[in-house]
Amino acid sequence: MNKRLKQIISSTCMVVALMAITSRAAVDPADAAAKLADLGTLSVVAQANITEAAAGGDVDALAEASQLGAAVAVALAQSQESFETLEQAVAAGNDELAQSSYDDIVAALGLASDAMAGLVPDGVMGASDQQMGPQMADDAYDPVNIYADPSDTDAEQGIADDQFINNWLTGVVPYDKPATDT
């Protein structure tokens, strides 16, 4: 009886192992791109949170919001790199690297959505219940120094203004202003 049981167990294990090896779905780059989009959205929400804190004038809230915004920005930047690696790995047929890059993106989204809990409704950008990868290193946090003057020189301020204005130049005529005003 014991022998038979052993045979059943070993047969089951062998089949399960074979299934596990063959059934692991290939990484879907579209799914990875969707997760990257989620991270981008979280980053926009984090920046909007900074804006609200700045307008509210609460220094502590602003410092916290800035730290959160910086952390999400880091997660987004790392995931952009992971996505590029994933695309190259898929093109090269390197499933292992593709899977590990995908796991990195999932982990970054999980950490970012956990950090943004309360700012975004639960489950919307959710990856909190998904498998987590390596935790984001503490030194990955590079909080914005909100006390530093971002433009020490007129030239730097000019460049910053130009960049800001360049982002505004395209677009449609505002709904509430005549075209001549823009």
Binding site: I8, V16, A33, A34, T41, S43, A48, L62, N167
Partner: protein, 183 residues
């Protein structure tokens, strides 16, 4: 004896397989549920943006025409207008994709529609947030909160970059899904 063991083993695996299938359906249903939640969130943020625009109309009347930052005001309005259009159009796109989820003939197709709906909702949220930030900037100008202007500017700059990333990712998702079905 060995044959029997193999048969029993296969039965166990078949049972395990049906559990795996259940998990797959659950995962697909989770994606659909996330898409619906994402659309609800986008609707709420678009509504907030709409309210912000109404506030913006009042704020503009408070800013003197010869104000030093009037060129900024015009540009912010342009930015808000552009992003408002993005928010509204993307929300419609998300709702359209979501409506196709139910009528899809295969689970994988329904899953892809859900993915498109969710990402489109994200584009909508990003646009709506930029509108809200633009009006916060106008509020700071109208109410002389000059201390916060630089921080808001920097945050808007970062938000615009992230928002571009969201739109780029949406285009990628759309293209990658199209590729799947063009093979």
């Amino acid at each position: 004896m060995i044959k029997h063991s193999m048969t029993i083993g296969l039965v166990i695996v078949a049972l395990a397989g049906s559990v795996t299938n259940c998990k797959t359906y659950a995962a697909q249903s989770e994606v659909a549920s996330q898409a619906k939640q994402a659309i609800e969130y986008a609707e709420a943020e678009v509504e907030k943006a709409r309210e912000a625009i109404e506030l913006g109309k009042q704020l503009i009347t408070q800013i003197p025409e010869d104000h030093l930052l009037m060129p900024d005001v015009a540009q912010v309005l342009e930015l808000a207008s552009e992003n408002w259009k993005t928010a509204v159009d993307s929300l419609k796109g998300a709702e359209m994709s979501a409506s196709k989820m139910g009528s899809a003939t295969q689970d994988s197709i329904a899953n892809d529609y859900a993915m498109l709906a969710k990402v489109n909702a994200g584009v909508s949220v990003s646009g709506a947030k930029v509108v809200q930030m633009s009006i916060t900037y106008l509020d700071a100008i109208a109410n002389n909160k000059t201390g916060s202007l630089r921080i808001i500017r920097a945050a808007m700059q970062d938000a615009l970059e992230s928002s571009s990333q969201v739109q780029l990712s949406y285009e990628r998702v759309k293209a990658l899904i199209s590729q799947k079905y063009s093979k």
